[in-house]
Each structure stands twice: as C-alpha cells, then as structure tokens.
C-alpha cells in the first residue's frame, strides 16, 4: 500500500464543492503526487449533500478507500456523512462563525480546526473565496507547500484577471496563517511529499472526448444527461479546432439520427448518453447496424431502471447493450476499465466501427466518468494513435464493386462480411441504404435466400473480428493462483488495489479485467484452471456473471454491489475473501 492521504470537502450543492476539490486535486497533481478523486452528489442544483474526495499518494492510486484524514466540513451533515471514514487524528476544518456550524461537536480523538473561513475571505476581498481559505488551512495541516496551490489557482482564475488570482492566493494564505497562529500547539501527522513529476489530471468523460478528437471524430450529437454530459461539454469548444462540430439535439432520438446522418456522409461520428437515452436510441441502433453504418455510441451507465438514481453508480445496462433492439443485431460492446483506457478504447471504437461497419457501444460508467485520475502524459501518447477507416472505395476502385449495369454494392456479399463503402459524392457510388432487408445494392428484398445471405454476412463480421482483433482480457495478480476474480469496467482499479489487502491476508488471486464484452474473449481455459471463480460487478443480478457462465458452462460466484456507490478497495477485498471461503468468514463473525 502506498502511503496515501485522503482529503474531502463536503457541504451543500452550490457551495462550490466541485471547483474547490478540483483546485486542490490539481495542486497535488502539479506537485507530482498521484490523485484519484471521487464525487458524492445528489440530483439537484442547490442544496443536498455533496462531497468531493481526493485520495493522493506519491505512487499510483486507483480507487477510493474508507478513510478520511482531512475533512473540510461546510455543514454539520458533512461530518455525519463521513463519520465512518474519519479516525483518531483526523482533522476537521470548519467555520464556527457560520450559524449552522456554531454548535458542531468534533468527535473524540479528532482535531477540529475552527477557522473563520468567511470573514478571512472577506479580508482577502470577498466571501466567495471562503473555500480557498479552507484550502490554505488544509495546506498547513498537511505540510503541503502552499505555492503548489498558487499555480492551481492561477489555472482556475487566470482568465478572469491577475487581481482575482492574487486575491485567492491571499485568501489561502490567511487560512494558512490562521492555523499557524491559532493552533501552533498542534503537531500535524501529515507531510505531503512532492516529486518532480508532472501529471495530467482528467476524468473518464474528458478522456472519451479527447479520444474521439484523436481518432478523427468530426461530428458529435447528444442530449444532456447525467453522467454523460461532460463528454459533450468537453468536445464543445475543442472539436471545432479540428474541423468538427457538436450539436445539442432536441432529444436522444434526434441525437442518434443526426449522428447516423453524419456517419452516412462519411464523418467519424459519435453520440453519448446514459441508460434512459440508450432506451430511446435503441430503435435507430437497429437501423445503424442493418444499414451497416459505423457509429460510436457511448453509454455512461448510472443506476436504473427508469430514472433510477441519476447521480449514482451502476453497471446495469450490460444486457441492454448486448441484446437491446428487436431482431438480431451484430455489434461491438467495448468497456474501458480505467480513465486512460477511456481514451484508448474510444480510439479503438472508431476503428472497429469503420473496419466492420457496425455500431460500437462504448460502455463507461458513472464512477469512471466523474472520477479524475492522474497519469503520466505519455498515457495519452498521440503518436501511438492509429486510424483505420476500413474498406473505403474511391472513383478508381469503385468499378470492382459494381453490378454489370453499374450499380454500386454497399452490401456486397464478401468472405469476411465487410462490404465496400463509398462516401456520398463518390462518382458511381450512389446507392440506397435501408433498415429493410436488402440485396447487395441496398434495395429492399424479401427474397428468402438473400435474407439469409445478408443476415449471415452481417453476423460474419463478428467472426472476422474474433479472428483479426485481440480481445484479450487485462491480467493482474498471480497468474498461477487457483482463485480467479473476473470483472469488467471501472472495477479494475479497485480490484488491483484490493489485491494488496488480500495479499496481506495471504490470499492470492488472479484477476482478469475484460474490456471487450462483445465479441469477448473465451475464458473457458482460465475458468477450468481455477478452483474458484468470482465475478465482481456493480449490479444486482450479475449480468456479466450470467454471460460468462453461458460461455464457459461453468458456475461462478458473484460479488455484486448496487447501492449506488462504487466498490472501495478494502471493502472489496473483504467481499472477495468471504466469497472465496464463506465458512471461514462465518467463523470469524462468530
């Protein structure tokens, strides 16, 4: 376990929790510390409990843990909500002059730093900076050089003028000095070491947007929905610099149809939404697949069904992505497992979509989408990006794909199932495309033989992809272990950290993290080699567990979490331990 440090700011939505948390996270990142952030927020604009948590270490951090070392509490509820995670020696920074905080009781053994955040902020130029005063106080309590905070403040407020930056710097210093003077007798345990490394700090939604631009995506249409909106927000204002365009559609139905239109015109095109939006898009999804249009559809999952819990984590849409839509639809379902993989899998999604001319679901989830994580900039090495547009024909090659009378065959029956594509404007390529069953030229048909041939052709692409692409899982832990833990999506990081807790208890496991959900790797050999197989996922019914049981004809054990909160590393280690050896677990309890 790296010597990690956990910090949080909590209060009511509208208190500026997010931006304050981000300023601190960026300061840590710029000081060469790794950061992993998580957010706890309610589905409302103002009011309601909200928190921004930062876990930081000089080594890589991949998950959240059940521990808080320093808490900035803007409301009494902030303390209540985090009581389980606070421990002896935890520092709580609060403003005792704030009416609601006047009678707050600091739990036994913890250190309360009563700092007049608002009045110090006013001294620095405005009450709005009270959170920054708290950051200054936090720097003092953690022996973290306040100059790192300065550069973060400059990044945040630089566009609004130097005066504002200076005021904020001053606010931070007033907070720092207050703690120095008023609490000089306290020796704080924390000493946040810095390094010379420079990391980048970003979340999954941003990484998906960045991946799309890197992949040459030029067109994005979407409709705002938590937690996918940040993809659109990221692209807007950036994609234009690369010749692209973002459209906010009137609804999800329009979004996918706009994106489909752009894709038919030859653009690399994408839409992003969450489960309820996928429901609406499913009708057109069938058309996308049948017309063999390359399209990337991002599902940033959240708790369902129906409106569920819009701001909470879940991986409940797997079945919908695998099977959604009437009839039988060839597709790809790719699930990034980490924030940096959100970038790479988006790039890959565009290549798969165009190489196989079929829609690709990119299955992200809330925990990954809103989580910010630090990376070496090389993790997003643009020189390693490759673009493969598949079988595009031009005026010179189109004749090879025409009928004797000169009709282009966009659904030509080929051995690998992939047909030639002609972008509109290509001479001799004019053709019809339709969701109706069609012949090689795309013209409607009910001919029974052609129907079978076209269905087989579309499905053949999946087999071709299985032969040509590497759908291997990512592997961690001890490859020789008899205990196999399998997961997908954002649980990977947590699981990798859970390894260390398990190792402490002499439990060794082999971990397979599966980023390709369809087509997916055949895990039969791995399952047969193991004594125990446990599938970890954030849903109630074990959708992926069902799928791998079907694939491998082997029963698996399941660890499921569906209360709306992502797994935590220590908690997950306990769950796995109990699932592997339930009897031992009971003995311990007795």
């Amino acid at each position: 376990m790296p010597a990690d440090f956990n910090w949080a700011i909590g209060g009511e939505a509208g208190d500026g929790i997010d931006s304050t948390g981000k300023i601190f996270a960026q300061a840590l990142s710029r000081a060469g510390r790794h950061v992993f952030t998580s957010k706890d927020f309610a589905s409302r604009i103002r009011g309601g409990y909200t928190a921004y948590k930062v876990r930081t270490s000089t080594e890589k951090v991949r998950s959240v843990v059940d521990r808080l070392d320093v808490l900035v509490a803007l409301t009494p509820r902030t303390i209540e909500e985090n009581l389980d995670e606070l421990h002896e020696g935890s520092v709580i920074i609060y403003d005792g002059e704030r009416t609601t905080m006047a009678d707050v009781e600091i739990p036994d053994g913890m250190i309360g730093l009563d700092v007049p955040l608002k009045s110090l902020a006013e001294d620095a130029g405005g009450a709005i900076m009270r959170n920054v005063v708290a950051l200054g106080a936090a720097c003092e309590a953690t022996n973290f050089d306040i100059e790192h905070l300065d550069s973060s403040l400059k990044k945040r407020f630089g566009d609004k003028g130097q005066a504002l930056v200076d005021n904020n710097k001053q606010a931070a210093r007033l907070g720092q000095e207050y703690v120095q003077e008023e609490y000089s007798d306290i020796e704080f345990d924390y000493d946040l070491e810095t390094t010379d490394n420079d990391y980048v700090l970003l979340n999954g939604d941003e990484a998906i947007g960045m991946g799309a631009i890197a992949a040459g995506c030029k067109y994005y249409a979407g409709y705002p929905i938590t937690p996918a909106t940040d993809v659109m927000t990221y692209l807007k204002g950036r994609i234009e610099n690369f010749g692209g365009h973002v459209v906010q559609a009137e609804d999800e139905l329009a979004a996918i149809n706009l994106a489909l239109g752009a894709a038919r015109a030859g653009a690399r095109s994408m839409t992003a939404t969450s489960g309820p939006g996928i429901d609406l898009m499913t009708e057109t999804f069938g058309l996308v697949a049948t017309s063999e249009t390359p399209l990337v559809i991002v599902d940033v999952m959240r708790s369902g069904p129906s409106t569920g819990m819009p701001t909470k984590q879940e991986q409940g849409d797997l079945n919908m992505m695998l099977y959604g839509g009437h009839g039988e639809i060839p597709r790809f379902v790719v699930a990034p497992t980490t924030v940096d993989e959100c970038f790479w899998k988006t790039v890959e999604a565009f290549n798969l979509a165009e190489k196989y001319q079929t829609p690709v679901y990119l299955a992200a989830d809330l925990a990954m989408a809103v989580t910010e994580q630090t990376f070496e900039p090389d993790a997003f090495d643009m020189d390693a990006v490759e673009i493969d547009r598949g079988k595009v024909v031009d005026e010179d090659t189109i004749e090879d794909h025409q009928t004797e009378s000169g009709g282009f065959k966009p659904h030509e029956l080929t051995e690998d199932g992939v047909s030639p594509r002609a972008f509109p404007g290509t001479e001799g390529g004019a053709h019809m495309s339709t969701g109706l069953e069609h012949d090689e030229q795309g013209r409607r048909t009910e001919d029974t033989e052609m129907r079978v041939k076209q269905v087989d052709k579309r499905n053949r692409k999946v087999e071709t992809a299985r032969e040509r692409e590497d759908f291997s899982p990512r592997e961690f832990g001890n490859p020789e272990s008899d205990n196999l833990v399998v997961t997908w999506g954002s649980n990977e990081g947590t699981l990798v950290e859970a390894l260390e807790f398990l190792e402490e208890e002499d439990i060794d496991v082999r971990i397979l993290s599966v980023p390709y959900l369809f087509p997916r790797p055949d895990l039969t050999e791995e399952f047969e080699a193991a004594d125990e197989v446990v599938v970890v996922e954030c849903n109630a019914t074990g959708q992926f567990a069902d799928v791998v049981e079907h694939d491998t004809l082997q029963r698996v054990k399941r660890v499921n979490k569906y209360n709306g909160v992502q797994f935590k590393a220590d908690e997950l280690a306990d769950d796995i331990k109990e699932t592997l050896a339930p009897d031992e677990g009971q003995e311990v309890e007795a």
Partner: protein, 288 residues
C-alpha cells in the same frame, strides 16, 4: 457532369409499388426534375426518406439515400448536410411520419434551418397500414380506427412551421406538375430549410381529399398579388380556415442556413491524418 444530367438519371431501376394513380408519382417526378434543374446529379445528392408510402421514395430514386426509421428522417438529413455541406440533401416523408411521430423533430428542424429541402407527401391518411386517420385528417373523417372521425382538429403544418420560425414555407399539389416542380426548385434554392407540404392524394383510402377536391379548391398564390416575404400576410394565409393555398407562403430572404451561422463548410469525411490530428497533444497539456 451536372450539365448533362437529366431527371431520369435520378430514377432507379425499381418499379414503384404505389397504387396506380397515387399522388406520390407526381410528387417524386417533380422532386427529380427540380433536382436536375438545379444542377444536381445522383452522386452529390442525398435523399432521406421516412416510413410509409412516401418512405419508399428512396428506393425509386437513384442517388445516395437512406430510408430511416419512422418519423426521424429530418435529423438524419441534418446530420448528412452538416457533415458534408457540398451535398444536396432532400428529405421526403408523409403526414404521419412528419406531423405525428416526427412532429417534435419537425419543429426543431425548422428552428435549426439546415440548408436542405423537406417534401411532405400529405394525403391526410395512413395508406400503408390501410386507411387510418392521420394527423392531418379532417375532424369528421371516418376510418377503421376512427369510425366517428378523429374528433380533434387536424395539425396545421404550415402554421406550425411559421410559429417555429420557418424561413421557407410552401404548399404544392402533386398533379400540378409544372407548379409543383417550380415550388420544389424554390425550396432547393432557398438558403435554409425549405419546407414543402405537397397534397399527394391517396386514391385507395381517402375519398374526401381527392384530386378533384384540390383541383377545385386550391388557390394559387402565384396568380395573386401576394408577397411571400411579408410574415404578417403569411400568418393570415396559414391560419385561413376557409381556403387552402398553393405556392410559396413565406420566405425569409435574409435566411442564413445553420451551416453559415455555424461556419460549417468542410466535408467531414476527409481525414488527412493516419494518426491523431496535428496539435492533438495540446489536448493533453490542457490537463496539467
């Protein structure tokens, strides 16, 4: 090659399965003629069709085309045009497709003002599902699913378009070939969303809104002293409960298409880099 293009070049080798006498024949012919007349050819034309009898048009025409899902042809057309403004985009649909299931998209397509034309074959009935009331059916129009008539007022597509901020509103009649062709041509030439509601009679299921009815009742604005740029005059015409009009009811000559206002002028199918685009590393640096 456009100078040699004839309207028959836009015909596919598929024979239409529309009923003999269907208004859609005339509507389609006018569309093809207008396309050829405005210098387009099948390789630079993209036709988007909806669902229903009207939706078959993509099969009978020869061009780049897609036959979409019910009611959603307009966003597809907008996506095509935004991604490649060099293409001539024409969307065709029916009254059910455009004013019922697709009514939301219609309002927003009008607002968006993408430079494309939208031809609605309005026969005031659901034909392909064999004769149910459509959103433009008369209140007392008896059908299998509405034996006493829909008993609700029909959608007024022209008024809906005007209220939504349309920059081009026209109405046409499929059997008046020359006038129809002329109106569609004007819609194509309009810089923005060119909306044409075409009375395209259903000879099988609608014995009220017939060729004779339209021939006798339609007032051709082209023969009147009418200024289509006058929005107030247009308001009167589209809300006129006593008469139905043929011709351009409203045109905003100052119209700026979505592509103009959003600076879209490139063909997005072109990707001139084999890896990430130049300058992509700046996207990473932003996160320091």
């Amino acid at each position: 090659m456009s100078s040699q293009v004839r309207f028959t070049d836009f015909k596919s080798d598929k024979q239409p399965t529309w009923c003999p006498g269907c208004g859609d024949f005339g509507t389609m012919n006018g569309m093809m003629k207008a396309l050829a007349e405005t210098g387009n050819d099948p390789d630079n034309t993209f036709v988007v069709a909806g669902i229903g009898c009207s939706g078959k048009i993509g099969t009978y025409m020869h061009s780049y085309a897609i036959h979409g899902v019910h009611g959603r042809a307009l966003p597809v057309g907008a996506g095509v045009k935004m991604a490649n403004p060099d293409l001539e985009v024409m969307v065709a649909g029916g009254d059910g497709d455009g004013y019922s299931i697709g009514a939301g998209h219609f309002v927003h397509a009008v607002r968006r003002n993408v430079d494309m034309s939208y031809v609605v074959m309005d026969n005031r009935i659901y034909g392909l599902t064999k004769g149910q009331a459509s959103p433009t059916s008369r209140e007392d129009f008896e059908t299998s699913t509405t034996p006493e008539g829909p008993q609700q007022p029909p959608v007024n597509p022209l008024a809906l378009a005007l209220a939504s901020g349309a920059t081009f509103i026209a109405q046409s009649f499929s059997s008046d070939a020359l006038r129809h062709q002329e109106i569609v041509r004007q819609a194509i030439e309009h810089d923005g969303f060119g909306f044409v509601n075409v009375f395209s009679p259903c000879v099988t299921f609608n014995d009220v809104d017939t060729y004779d009815y339209f021939r006798d009742s339609l007032v051709d604005l082209g023969e009147e002293d009418y200024d289509p740029t006058d929005r107030e005059a247009a308001k009167e015409k589209v809300l006129d409960a006593d008469k139905e009009y043929m011709g351009v009811l409203y045109q905003d000559e100052e119209s700026q298409s979505y592509e103009q206002t959003h600076g879209l002028d490139s063909n997005m199918s072109d990707i001139d880099h084999e890896g990430a685009p130049e300058g992509a590393m700046d996207l990473v640096r932003e996160f320091y």
